[in-house]
Symmetry: C2
């Protein structure tokens, strides 16, 4: 059975492209609020669960021990743009644990943020692991390894104490046992475990509200949410969706993109978790669906609706800045 078409790309009078996908919205008690498509199909959450992976950073005592502030905790939850401020935060965070960027095992890529990549190239330097969009998450893993008193080398392996703690956290949050055949390797070389979108939405409902979590975990989740709300630029970067949404809505919305068309988030005041996967892996579509879910489930005023509408129905412009089409949600999302 096919998942429904969630997003259409229009050009001129015609639909040019179509994105199918799955959406799950759950509350922390496990009640399904919205389910479109096959919400039980396993999905690699990729970077969309960085905030859940970062729970280990707080719960290990590393955040306390190394005096990590909002910027450090936000960048640990980030797919950042590799802008100079992101890099400086990651380097500083590592230094607090007595480490240098050489400890990062995420691999190198050029900053996602194009002006930063060009400035780096212009300076005669090249991309290193610290520019990798996952370097903050990896700095968090390294700090956690130090706090746990285990060797930090090889922290990306599924058998390392940090990754075992991450897996146990995901199992508790989702209420599922994760078999080894659901494990793959992420772009930054840590494990990514496939989970049903319904379980991911439940995990984010719990992460967002604290309901169904132990007291220590609820405090850790609240600490990470507060850090991201306070420093949304550190979670993504200039002009990026996650940053713009959390800058506008503060603690009312938590959102995090993942590769291959995944998006997760929480509406803490509504007690809801949201998980989205576009079948084809298209980020432009998953972002639009997340904006549509916020518009649908978050009580908003007129100005906030107008703000969201930019993301719900983005205009497509060409190299001469001529409007040539738009992306728009289909009626399946009750927003056409």
């Amino acid at each position: 059975m096919s998942n429904p078409i969630l997003v259409e790309a229009r050009r001129g009078a015609l639909v040019e492209s179509r994105h199918r996908g799955v959406v799950a919205v759950m509350d922390a008690a496990g009640k399904t609020v919205l389910a479109l498509g096959d919400v039980e199909q396993p999905v690699y959450p990729r970077s969309a669960v960085k905030a859940l992976q970062a729970l280990v950073l707080v719960e290990s005592g590393a955040a306390e021990r190394f005096g990590l502030g909002d910027e450090e905790l936000a960048v640990a939850c980030a797919s950042h743009g590799g802008e100079p401020g992101h890099v400086a935060t990651v380097v500083g965070m590592l230094a607090r644990a007595g480490l240098t960027p050489e400890a990062l095992e995420c691999g190198a890529h050029w900053p996602i943020h194009q002006p930063s990549a060009q400035a780096l190239a212009a300076s005669g330097a090249t991309a290193t692991a610290v520019h990798n969009n996952c370097s903050g998450k990896h700095a968090g893993f390294l700090c956690a390894a130090c706090a746990l008193g285990v060797t930090h080398g090889g922290y990306i392996a599924p058998t390392h104490a940090v990754q075992r703690a991450v897996k146990a956290t995901l199992e508790t949050l989702t209420g599922l046992r994760i078999d080894d055949d659901r494990r793959a390797t992420d772009g930054c070389s840590v494990p990514t475990w496939a989970l049903p979108l319904s379980a991911l939405a439940l995990a984010f409902a719990r992460f967002g509200s604290g309901h169904g979590l132990g007291a220590e975990r609820a405090r850790a989740a609240a600490r990470l949410r507060a850090a991201c709300a306070a420093k949304p630029w550190h979670v993504a970067g200039t002009g990026r969706f996650c940053t713009e949404i959390m800058q506008r809505f503060g603690a009312r919305v938590f959102v995090k993109v993942g590769a291959e068309g995944v998006f997760c988030g929480a509406l803490p005041e509504q007690g809801l978790g949201v998980a989205i996967k576009c079948d084809d892996g298209a980020g432009r579509a998953s972002e639009l669906v997340m904006a549509t879910m916020i518009a649908r489930f978050l009580p908003t005023d007129d100005a906030e609706r107008a703000f969201l509408d930019r993301f719900v129905r983005p205009t497509l412009r060409n190299w001469n800045d001529i409007a040539v089409g738009e992306l728009r949600p289909t009626e399946v999302l009750e927003f056409s």
Copy 2:
């Protein structure tokens, strides 16, 4: 009705993402050789028809009059990477018609080829229209306008003589009348007319074989094919699929990518035209489907099959160069 899943992206033991789409393979007499999905649905061909748009450049007499060689004709058919050699060819082509890059109306973007973009930024310069991947096509339009004796300013408008000639060419090649409601604006601001994939495949069967064309058009098509076969680097650039395929197969294969998951091509010796559209606009999938069609319909030896297999089943590697998955064709393509 849904179009079939043509390509799967696998990670670990699971399918992570899926690409649906449509494939049409036709011969020049209009016989359907392969039709997967709705081949009658209109598709904006975007840059995949640049070689058909370039017929006007040859037929207007501009190629002859301005002494354009293989490099210039190939770049007129190109979505080039904006590498220095591409830029030099475009600038030289314009100079032959007494024009400068200021005449280009395609809009500016940074070179697609990342090292070239970084070198440009490092030099302190910025992107201009000549770096636009379509600048060769636009240089071709400008040369055609000069040869036709019409004002070149505004050559991107649907009402301009050059664009009317392009439309008439597409109508003749496809045997279809194109209504105005099928016209949209492309990324580089020229018109793009939606056509059924079956008609696009027919047009490329004719372009590739000369069958069903008048003598003058058949000569123009052969001239453009020969130019692309001789100078495939000018059609795309370093490391790009169209370049690598035509470098390997020469005049036996013509291929051209278009935006939003379109691919068109011809197998001249087989008399076949191929047109592909991925529903979701994914270039990684349309490229793989094109490679699969070449492997299926072009007689090849073992070395050529091994060469093609790199594109039929590309390995997905992460930032540490670890193999994390693969793209692969589904059984629908008879290649699983």
